[in-house]
Symmetry: C2
Subunit: 407 residues, 2 copies
């Protein structure tokens, strides 16, 4: 299809290539990924969350629009009727669709879990994957701080189940931030947006510079600078309450204090710190948001938050909260090794002993943890099994724990 | 985006809709699908097959072209450079790509397994899914009848592991059919294609009519009619050998006889019948092909075959054989119920007893098979638990095996 175009050589994809931004997982990586998937889904099940699967393709006009992924980051294609479809970019919007349609008679609260690949176009330009895995939950139909604390405590349990040893959850509230900025910068939407952009990028130097440019009253400038110090433990709730009179901000802080109380009852508050400078990366968040950071990794390994306005886009208004683990990143930090590698055995046989060999293979395969390959050989001299330290054998470039011959 | 177009109303997708041909799997279906996936992958692992995962998106010019899916059935999209991508339509071509690239130094034979969703456009017009699951293996680098028999015996083991109780494997060989038709209808390519089309559709009446139209010699007509009787057990191999002198057909039958011998040694020949009228539905098949049929289901539940020319398209020529279970169809026939449903418990508590309640929940969740939801209530009167026959409880539309209150 591609050839010389206006003097510029655009070569065909080479046969061994895959598209940029997507990847192959070889057996060892799959074993690790599958182990994390299994442990995390099991954990979610124990907390009463039931798993669902939704299609890879969704309508652009509905789920695509609701998904809060930037339009240019959606993979789009046309169906035969000319309707635009997207590859799902998250699972929250599809689940909102299902809760509002197939599950519309299911009483609230609805607890759902998933493990799924999701897609973001042009991420490869930033060195990120265009297709990656998320494992998450949605708790729909419960507006309480109890529900928010439940998903945070569950995120802690899931990170532990996945084998992430050291991590910290940062907890914020978009209502507090919006209320505070609204109070201090009434009518100056551009200034509010610019400050939020700095916070989203954790660019605190830029934030301070922007603040100076805004030429606010001394008091306002001090309070907005004070925001940057609102990171820490329980005490932050009290400090934040004194910082603002805005009713939305006050309400948000109250909700956050209540979440903290519940987290203490769960015994997980040691894993959590309040960070009121945090903005969730999804535009549909309406309440608390949180991110999980593993030691030694610059990116969050999970993110979540409350989204009370999404469900009504699908015709069943309801408050909701949830999170997604960034499963690929967890693969990088999870200390836990996947379930024990199988005990690999090679059974070699000649044609005269085939039945005997297959019978032995069948018996071994019935035992837990065994993986048995069979191979026809001409005679005793054909198989060169090299002994390895530790009692394994190397046969034609592969390692086996045992080699059995039927000759 | 859509509105009134030339007087014809093309309405927007409704918010609760998903694209046609794709579906949502609710928790009960997911439990069944996941159980089949787990059991089958475990079975493949026991036979020495290691799991891989490849990306959803592949290049149209490489994997798309090699996949043997009709062009109009490929989902296509453009990447930012204008290169055409496809949603994978099977896993055989992607695995051929991986074996030839990432695994190019891995010595043969290479045994790989997968569980994956695959995509076929416009299938919804025939009432079929556009996205569905396949669970399969590829055995690459072994041209022997031993390898062919191994994947057939493994298919039998996998169908049993998936809980398919009654099934039959039909075994054919594209080489025999091609050789016979080539011998009888030398140079008449159109006639050969027309007869193959009838066989592919299992339209034996049409086959006989086409034969008459061709006005062949009595002997040729008799032999080509005789093909239709080449369905049965071991004896078919001998009958087929007498039907043709074509060397390709003879060679094919010899290979099939050898496969049968190995299948007997596996003890699975009772599940297999030879059907020399069978054509595999993939154009890349070069040798034996097989399909598994479950009782009471018109469609095959698995299909496989030998494809010795595919790997060289990716630069590492090698013989290969394999199969895929049609996992969605197996969901319909698998008698096996998914692993026991969890023991669901509701723990209700008031704010004063939150810690106690969470501690109890944590203890219960640590026990195998337990699934525990928690709920804050105002007091003793709030929760209406209706006793059900069998000792369960109904609370606000949901069923629990146990309800515990901390008040």
């Amino acid at each position: 299809m591609h050839d010389i175009v206006w003097g510029e050589i655009v070569s065909k994809p080479k046969v061994f290539e895959k598209p940029t931004g997507v990847k192959d997982y070889l057996p060892e990586a799959v074993a690790k990924l599958r182990s994390i998937e299994y442990e995390v889904l099991q954990c979610m099940e124990r907390w009463g969350y039931r798993q669902i699967i939704t299609p890879t393709l969704e309508y652009y006009d509905t789920v695509g629009a609701a998904s809060s992924t930037e339009d240019r980051k959606l993979f789009k294609l046309l169906d035969r009727n000319g309707t635009t479809l997207v590859l799902r970019s998250d699972m929250t919007a599809p689940i909102a669709r299902v809760v509002s349609s197939l599950l519309k008679d299911e009483p609230f609260p609805v607890r759902l879990s998933y493990h799924s690949n999701v897609f973001r176009a042009i991420e490869e330009e930033a060195g990120r994957d265009s297709e990656f895995f998320q494992t998450g939950v949605e708790l729909v139909g419960d507006a309480s701080s109890e529900a928010d604390a439940e998903v945070i405590a569950l995120a802690v349990a899931c990170l532990q189940a996945a084998g992430v040893r050291a991590f910290k959850i940062a907890l914020g509230h978009v209502g507090f931030l919006n209320g505070l900025l609204h109070e201090m910068l009434k009518g100056r939407d551009g200034a509010q947006a610019a400050l939020k952009e700095c916070l989203l990028n954790r660019d605190y130097v830029g934030y301070r510079e922007k603040l100076k440019e805004l030429k606010l009253s001394n008091e306002a400038q001090k309070e907005l600078e004070g925001l940057l110090r609102l990171r820490g433990g329980e005490e932050i709730c009290r400090q934040a309450q004194q910082l603002t009179d805005d009713p939305v901000a006050q309400q948000s802080i109250l909700h956050l204090c209540q979440i903290w109380e519940v987290l203490k009852a769960y015994g997980v508050s040691e894993h959590v710190s309040i960070d009121l400078t945090m903005i969730g990366d999804f535009s549909y968040y309406t309440g608390m948001t949180f991110e999980g950071y593993a030691a030694d990794l610059g990116f969050p390994v999970c993110s979540g938050g409350r989204y009370d306005n999404l469900l009504k886009l699908f015709g069943r208004p309801a408050p909701a909260t949830g999170f997604a683990l960034k499963t690929n990143r967890i693969m990088e930090v999870a200390g836990k090794q996947p379930a024990e590698a199988p005990y690999r055995v090679l059974i070699a046989y000649d044609a005269a002993h085939r039945e005997e060999a297959f019978r032995a293979a069948k018996e071994m395969r019935a035992r837990k943890g065994m993986s048995v390959e069979t191979r026809l050989i001409a005679g005793a001299g054909e198989l060169h099994a090299e002994s390895l330290p530790g009692g394994s054998y190397r046969v034609q470039g592969k390692t086996y724990r045992d080699v059995v011959q039927f000759l």
